[in-house]
């Protein structure tokens, strides 16, 4: 089989990342096909099914101005028809096999996923290849997809957290390519049409712009017979370079949105970093201590455990390909809106003023390094892990490097990150709330 790979580069990686616990990574093979497609394979045979993920390197950051939502609509329109099949036929066939597909876009990339029993892959995989490479985008079906999207946008206005997040991104990214909701707005989506979808597909959906990750009950035979030949038939075409510019962030301010709800949904944050920023790992450590997922973060201890102000309070760095944000999210009853914001600002003040304790930084490192193997606890997690490693260019050695990237972070690094990225002067604060009630205490 290797003789057939021609220009393919092959890396097999199986590394113990803990000296103490002999943890081994899932095996991973990487091939670059002649048409530029990157293929990642991880075999695991305990269950008779396979998870596929196609990552096409285009997302809402590539939406043309005035056509916000186009990347997302293009992704969701893929299964509406393909060479020789209507949407009903596509779904009927896949459903009959018990196969599941999904397709959608985020800011950076488009993901098309297939999960199928191994015995059905020879029938399911070609359908997904057709959806991806020769979609027909029937005009009536695309129209329906547009109405559904408009309905979903309207429905999402019932979720105060979503309303707050959209307002935050709009204010932060200030009209730039990351500034609009992935699914578009009521105004922009209403203007989209089949021709735009088809043109978007022609521009970006090419093998040299695609990563394919295959995880599970896959082997050389299946790869050689069913998967590689179909991928190799896909013709390479030029893909435009991303020319987007991220405008300077909107300046610090408060945005208030009135909504008849019992809680205030609050987002506080500012510009963060892109995924390739060398500060990324120090930022992960800082954030874990400050408000990252843990139940024992400072925000959780202070705002939830001590003051009982919120059920959920957390912070995170959203690090994207070309941009990023730092955000604190919380919900609290309207009467404690100002108190909660003040508490967050107090905690920001402390982490900017003082070094974190030795115990805190050690706990953070123990968690971040020690929990790494959990990223491989299911096929879908393994699939998305390797897809992102490839998309963000982290390299297959990344799992091996991760512990030292985290362990080399110092308390001084944490302080520097806090002072750089948690700058109250630049904070954009969004409050979605029953404003009258929030005001009146």
């Amino acid at each position: 089989m290797r003789r057939l790979l021609l220009s393919a580069c092959l890396v097999v990686c199986s590394i113990a990342i803990f000296s103490g616990s002999a943890f081994s990574l899932p095996p991973i093979q990487r091939f670059v096909l002649d048409n530029g497609l990157v293929l990642l394979i991880s075999e695991e045979h305990s269950l008779p099914f396979i998870t596929f993920q196609f990552i096409v390197k285009t997302g809402s950051k590539d939406d043309p101005p005035g056509q916000e939502g186009l990347a997302s609509l293009s992704a969701s329109s893929l299964p509406l028809g393909c060479a020789g099949r209507t949407t009903q036929q596509i779904h009927e066939e896949l459903d009959f096999m018990g196969a599941a597909i999904s397709s959608g876009a985020n800011e950076d990339y488009t993901a098309i996923s297939l999960r199928a029993l191994r015995k059905n892959v020879d029938r399911a995989f070609p359908i997904v290849m057709d959806i991806l490479t020769v979609p027909t985008f029937p005009v009536q079906e695309v129209k329906k997809e547009i109405s559904r999207t408009l309905g979903a946008i309207q429905s999402s206005e019932d979720q105060p957290g979503v309303v707050a997040e959209k307002a935050f991104e709009k204010a932060l990214y200030n009209g730039g390519p990351y500034g609009h909701p992935t699914e578009g707005t009521r105004e922009s989506v209403a203007k989209l049409n089949r021709e735009m979808v088809s043109a978007f597909h022609r521009t970006y959906y090419h093998p040299n712009n695609t990563i394919v990750v295959v995880v599970g009950d896959v082997d050389d035979g299946l790869l050689k017979k069913e998967i590689r030949p179909m991928l190799e038939k896909w013709q390479r075409k030029a893909v435009p370079q991303w020319k987007g510019r991220t405008p300077s962030p909107g300046k610090g301010r408060t945005v208030k949105i009135d909504k008849p709800v019992t809680q205030s949904n609050i987002v506080i944050g500012s510009t963060g970093m892109s995924r390739d920023n060398p500060d990324y790992y120090a930022a992960q450590v800082m954030n874990y201590i400050f408000g990252g997922g843990s139940l024992s973060s400072r925000l959780m201890e202070d705002i939830r455990n001590k003051r009982g102000l919120a059920y959920s309070v957390s912070s995170y760095f959203q690090a994207q390909k070309n941009s990023g944000s730092f955000e604190v999210l919380l919900q609290t009853k309207t009467a404690s809106t100002n108190e909660s914001i003040a508490a967050v600002m107090e905690d920001v003040g402390v982490i900017r003023a003082e070094l974190v304790s030795q115990a805190e930084i050690e706990d953070a490192k123990k968690y971040l390094v020690g929990s790494f193997p959990q990223r491989f606890s299911s096929q879908s997690k393994i699939t998305s892990f390797f897809g992102q490693v490839e998309y963000y260019g982290l390299g297959l050695e990344y799992p091996k490097e991760y512990p030292s990237l985290i362990n080399s972070v110092t308390r001084e690094d944490v302080l520097r990150i806090a002072r750089t990225y948690l700058n109250p002067d630049c904070f954009i604060t969004v409050v979605v709330s029953d404003l009258e009630a929030a005001q009146g205490k």
């Binding site: 018990g98 959990q374 002067d425």
Partner: protein, 466 residues
Amino acid sequence: MGRVSKRASFSCILLILAGAFCLLAPVHASAALSDRVSETTLSNGLKVILLENHKAPLVTFQVWYKVGSRNEAWGKTGLSHMLEHMMFKGTKNVGPGEFSRTIEQNGGDDNAFTSNDFTAYFENLSADRVTIPISLESDRMGGLFLREEEFKPERSVVMEERRLRTDDNPGAVLMEQTNAAAFQVQPYHWPVIGWMQDITRFTIEDLREYYHSYYRPANAVVVVVGDFKKEMVLPLIERAFGAIPGGNAPDQQRNMEEPQLGERRIVVKKEAQLASVVKAYHVPNVKERDGYVLEVIEALLSAGESSRLNRLLVREKQLALAVGADNELLSRDPNLFTISAEVMPGKTSDDVEKALVGEIERLQRELVSARELEKAKNQLESEFVYSQDSLFYQGMILATYEVVSTWKDVDKYVPGIRSVSAEDVRLTARKYLVPANCTTGVLVPIPSANPKPIQPGSPSRENIVR
């Protein structure tokens, strides 16, 4: 159905799981899950269920208590969930918050969730750390410190959780109201998180009494799935948990719903963008064969894009933005089969309800074709295989079956599904999915101005920052 309520919102796996739970049915016919499971009951009555799975060097450790909202009394609704929160506040050996901190220091994740029927605690971590949850979980089963100073703020946290999950979520309010109308006698009448007024009146004494009644070895199940050797782990569990005094298993007998005497309708008027309709029918659970037939009906109606409701209401007629059917198979007491739809802008809930009823009547009138029946069964069986992917789900399936009936019944699922005939589908639809057995809930949006940012200069704008 929003029945699972958990302690922290930072990971949404459990809610997704709750949604998929109806599909969590069971094993690949060729490899019976239960063949690989071992069960031991300790002398104090604690049941231990072990499943070795060596595909990754990970383990999930879970303790399930057979107590949920069904065990609560009127006026104390939500007490099970409140106690779940307090279980992280320490013992005489472990300080408040130390439980989770210790798990995190060991690279693990821990959390808990409560339903009508159970309260479950779990730790997912590297297999070489399995002793850590064994010692922490046995410690808090052996004795919990309930202190006023931690209880007061935590009760406020739970009130915030209720606002977040239910009060500000029109769909959740509709479901809560529909359940309250469908169940009049049975404790499924009230929500897992409890009525807000009850939450405000909980006392530390309520919690102490509840803990002593239900958090006993004889009312609990320990489930461990992952990369361990039974000969190594079982003695550790026996040593840590075996010394906890057994006591009696609590009385689990609860009131059952009387047969419904005619159709019920409720309306929820609330600020919302879109209308919704839900139709809920009383049905049997996994303990009766009809439960499996209803699984197949659920799949026919809503599994996959080609399913009946998706095809007709969502894609062809564009009456609904989203549809769903949900059979509560794994429920300790008989529960509901629901079909629901979010109405598309410009369409009416009447039209949507007519279409939903039309599909029910079609099930009662026409025999489903052999191919469509086969499709539904294939979907359910594949979903079951897929659900085996994660150690955590494997543990959850075994534990849920154990709470509801016995974990051994997990092997009955695929054969149960496979044995359903087209005639079974028609008879079962005729028996249960009838107006007299139905509670219909309609969410009627109160129109409000679309939310829009306050313009600069308007009186309520203020600059907190800068």
